[in-house]
C-alpha cells in the first residue's frame, strides 16, 4: 500500500482522538439506558420491512412492500384508513403507534436465509427497528424468526405456508397470520371428496424441500382420511423447470388424480406440462383425470394462464371477498396502486396492523408486552372473518378459502373463484399435533433483549 493511506489514517486517528477529547464527558453505554432492544425514545418508531426484492419471489415481495407502505400511511392517519375502519379493535387512532409517527426501513431478503438475516440484523442493529415483518418463504421466515427471538424484537411473518413456522420451529417472539399446509389439506379434502368422490387414487409430485414435505404430508393425511388412496409420492428438484419426465409415469401408475405440491414457478411449469400432456382429457378407472394444487396464489394463476381453469386449490385470502374489511382494503389498495392486492399483500398489511394494535393495547413497545397482547387475541374485520391468534403456537385460526381457476375470467386479476369458505373449526388442530412437531415443540420464553 502507498504512503498516502498511512497519512490518511493518521489524519483519521488524530481527528478521532481529538473528537474523543472534546466529547469525553458524554460517554455512556447505551445498552444500560434502554429497557428492551431498540426502545423507541424519540417521537418516531421504526419498523423493518424485510421482503424479497430480487429472486424468484420478487413479485410477491413487491406486493408486500406496497401493502406495508399502505399500512404505514393508514397508521399515520393518511389515506382512507383502509381496514383500520373495519377492524374490531378500536385502539388505533391514526396518529402513529402510541402517538409516535411510524417510519420504516426496507431490506432485500433475496429469498435466502443468510441474506434475510443480514438485512434483518442491519435493521435491528443499525436502524433500531423494533419489529421485523415480511418474507415470502418458510426457510426465510424460520431463520428470521429465530434471529428476532435472539435479538429481542417481534417478528410478524409474511407469506409462509410451511407447518414448521408455527410448528416445530415456533418462537415466542414470532407470529403468523398466514394459513399453513395442515389447514390447506383439511380445507381441501372435503371439497375434493364432494367434487371427485371418495375413492380416488392420488399421485403426488412434491417440491423437494421443507414446504413441499409438510404440504404433501398434510394433503395425504387429509385425503386418505376420506378414503383416497395415495399411489405414489415423487419428489422433484426445486430447480426443475421441465416436468415432462415426472408427468409421463403418472398415467402408468393407475392414478386418477395428480396433486402438485409446488409453489411459484415450479407450479406454473408442472401444471403447464401436465395439461399439455393431456392429463385432464384422460379417463382412468372410469373417472375423469383431475389435478389439484394445494396452495394457490393469484400471481401463480397468472403465470399458468389458461391451464388453471377448473383446478382446485386453497388460498389465504382473495380480493373478491365481499366482507367489509376486504372491500375496504381492496378499495384503498386499488386507489393507491391501480390494481387489486394479492394474498401476500393482504397478510402483510394485516400483520402490520395487528402489531400496531397490540402495542396500543399493551401500552408499550416492549416485545413481551406485545406478545401478551397478541396471545389469544380475537379480532374481526380484517378480511377473514372472526380470527384467533392462538396463544400456544402464535398461529392465526380463521376460515380458509377453497378456490378454483375461473372458467371465464373477466380481467387479468380475476383468475380464481371462491368455491367454499371452509369454517375455522374444520381446520383447527391441537397445538401438539404430530405434523406440528408434536409435544416437543415449544415457544420458549419471550425475549425483550434486556
Amino acid at each position: 500500500m502507498s504512503k498516502t493511506d498511512l497519512t490518511r489514517r493518521g489524519l483519521l486517528k488524530t481527528s478521532a482522538i481529538a473528537g474523543a477529547g472534546v466529547a469525553l464527558p458524554t460517554i455512556f453505554t447505551a445498552s444500560s439506558a434502554a429497557a428492551f432492544t431498540n426502545e423507541p425514545t424519540g417521537d418516531t418508531v421504526t419498523l423493518g420491512f424485510n421482503v424479497p426484492q430480487t429472486g424468484p419471489y420478487a413479485d410477491e415481495g413487491a406486493d408486500e412492500l406496497r401493502a406495508y407502505e399502505l399500512a404505514v400511511e393508514h397508521l399515520n392517519g393518511g389515506g382512507d384508513g383502509g381496514m383500520m375502519n373495519t377492524f374490531s379493535s378500536n385502539a388505533l387512532q391514526g396518529n402513529g403507534i402510541m402517538g409516535k409517527k411510524v417510519e420504516y426501513v426496507t431490506g432485500d431478503t433475496q429469498t435466502k436465509a443468510d441474506a434475510a438475516r443480514a438485512s434483518a440484523k442491519s435493521m435491528i442493529e443499525k436502524d433500531g427497528a423494533v419489529m421485523i415483518t415480511g418474507g415470502s418463504s418458510s426457510g426465510v421466515a424460520v431463520a428470521v424468526q429465530a434471529l428476532c427471538q435472539e435479538a429481542g424484537v417481534i417478528f410478524m411473518a409474511g407469506l409462509t405456508h410451511s407447518n414448521d413456522t408455527t410448528g416445530k420451529d415456533r418462537k415466542a417472539n414470532g407470529f403468523r397470520h398466514f394459513f399453513n399446509s395442515y389447514m390447506s389439506g383439511a380445507a381441501l379434502a372435503p371439497v375434493l371428496a364432494n367434487a371427485y368422490g371418495t375413492d380416488r387414487k392420488a399421485y403426488h409430485l412434491t417440491a423437494d424441500y421443507n414446504w413441499g414435505y409438510t404440504t404433501e404430508e398434510a394433503v395425504r393425511a387429509s385425503t386418505e382420511a376420506m378414503g383416497w388412496e395415495t399411489v405414489a409420492a415423487v419428489k422433484t428438484p426445486l430447480t426443475q423447470t421441465d416436468f415432462s419426465s415426472y408427468i409421463a409415469p403418472v398415467l402408468q401408475s393407475g392414478a386418477d388424480t395428480l396433486v402438485l405440491n409446488h409453489y411459484g414457478g415450479n407450479m406454473v411449469n408442472s401444471l403447464t406440462n401436465a395439461v399439455q400432456f393431456g392429463l385432464r382429457d384422460k379417463q382412468v378407472n372410469g373417472k375423469d383425470f383431475q389435478i389439484v394444487v394445494p396452495l394457490y396464489s393469484r400471481l401463480m394463476a397468472k403465470g399458468a394462464g389458461e391451464n388453471v381453469k377448473g383446478i382446485f386449490g386453497s388460498t389465504n385470502w382473495h380480493w373478491s371477498l365481499q366482507d367489509e374489511g376486504s372491500k375496504a382494503f381492496v378499495k384503498s389498495f386499488g386507489t393507491k396502486y391501480g390494481f387489486p392486492p394479492s394474498q401476500a399483500a393482504h397478510t402483510c398489511y394485516v400483520q402490520a396492523m395487528l402489531y400496531a394494535d397490540a402495542v396500543e393495547r399493551a401500552g408499550s413497545f416492549n416485545p413481551c408486552a406485545v406478545v401478551e397482547a397478541l396471545e389469544g387475541f380475537e379480532f374481526d374485520g380484517m378480511g377473514n372473518g372472526p380470527t384467533l391468534y392462538r396463544a400456544e403456537d402464535h398461529q392465526c385460526f380463521k376460515d380458509v378459502l377453497v378456490v378454483k381457476g375461473k372458467e371465464n375470467p373477466e380481467s387479468e386479476f380475476d383468475l380464481l373463484e371462491i368455491v367454499e369458505v371452509t369454517p375455522v373449526d374444520q381446520v383447527t388442530y391441537a397445538p401438539d399435533h404430530p405434523q406440528m412437531g408434536g409435544a416437543d415443540a415449544t415457544l420458549g420464553e419471550c425475549n425483550d433483549g434486556a
Binding site: A113, Y213, E445
Partner: protein, 399 residues
Amino acid sequence: MLGLDKKDFRLLLIVIAITLLAPFILNPFPEGSGMAQFNAGYPDLMQRFVIYGIFAIGFNILFGLTGYLSFGHAAFLGVGSYAAIWMMKLVTLNVIPAIILGVIIAGLFALAVGYISLRRSGIYFSILTLAFAQMSYALAYSVLTPITGGETGLQIKATDSPLLSNLEPGQIGRANLFGMDMRAGFDLSFGDWLFTINAGYYIAAVFMILAFYLSIRIFRSPFGTMLRAVKSNQTRMYYTGLNARPYTLAAFVISGMYAGLAGGLLVAMDTQAGPERMFWTASGEVVLMTILGGAGTLIGPVLGSGAIKYMENILSKINKDILHEWFAFMPDGLEDFIIAIVYPFIGKGWHLTLGLIFMAVVIFLPGGLVEGGQRIGRLLRGKKANPNDDKATQSTPAE
C-alpha cells in the same frame, strides 16, 4: 519483523490498524443525519466484512497464485458452517472448537474435491468444482435434510443441550468464547456520533489478521513461488521435472480451509447455517470479490469483499422514500426525474450498480481496486507511472 520484510510488515500494520479501528472508521457520519444511511459500523456488517475478507483471502491463495479458478468455493464455506453448528448443537457452545472443526471438515472436503478436480485445469477445473458445489447444495437442500435441516437450515434450539454446557431446560444456547457472549459489547457516543464496540467483531477481526498474516507468509515463501510458477507456465514446470499436482492440491486445501474458517466464523457470529451459502452465486461472489479487489495482491481480496458486502447491505436498503428525502430541495418535476434515473441503481437494483462497477474495474483497472489505489497514490506523489514499479506490485490480470 515476524518474518516479513519492511514493506509487508507495514501493510500488516495498516491492516491491523484498520480492522481494530473499523467501528470508528465505518461510522463517519453522525447519528440522525441524512448521511447516517451510509454508515456501515454496525456489528453484523463489520463481522461480514472480516469473515468474507477471510474467505476472499483464502480464495486468492488458490486463484491469485496458481490461477486455478475454482467456481465452487462456497461449498467449503457451507461445509465449514454445518460442521461448526453441529459442534455447537452437540458438544459445546464455545466457538473455538466449532471453528476448528469447521476448518478441519472443510479441509478434508477440499482434499477430496481437489484430488478429483485438479486432474483437469482451466475451464474443466472450474466446471468440476462448480459441479461439486452444486451437488453439495442440492444434497444440503433436500437429500440430506435430516443432517442439514434442508431449506430451513440449522439453528440452535431450546431443545439442544450441548454436552459441555449447563443450560437450564428451555434456555436457548448462545455462542460464546469462554463465557463471553458474541453479542456482548457497548456503545460509545461522542456527541452525535455513535460507535458500537462488539465482542464478536473483534474475535472475527483477530482471526482475519492471523489469516492475513499467514497469507503474506505463503505469498513470500518458496511454496508461494512454486504456486506462481504453476500460474505462469505449468507445462514448463513439468518439463523441468517438477510435479505441480502436490503444490496445487496443497493450495486448494489451504484455500478450502480458509473457507471453512470463514464458515465456522459465520456460525459463531450468527448461529445459523443454511444451504444458500453453497449456492453457485455464493461461489461466484467470492470470485467477484477477488477480481474486484485485485487478484494476486495481498490486500485486494479484503477490499473487494468489503466493497461487495457494503453494496449488498447498505445500497440495497436505500428505498424510494429515502431518495425523495434527499432530493426534496429540487423542484417537483426535476426531483421525480432524478429519482427515476437513480432508482434503478439502488435498493433492489444494487446488483446493477455492482455489475457496472465490476465492468469498469475489469476494463479500466485490470489490477482491481488495488491498482486504482496505486494510481491515485502515484498521482498524489506527482510521479509519472514508472513501468518497473508497475511490474513489481501489479499482478497479471486473471486468466
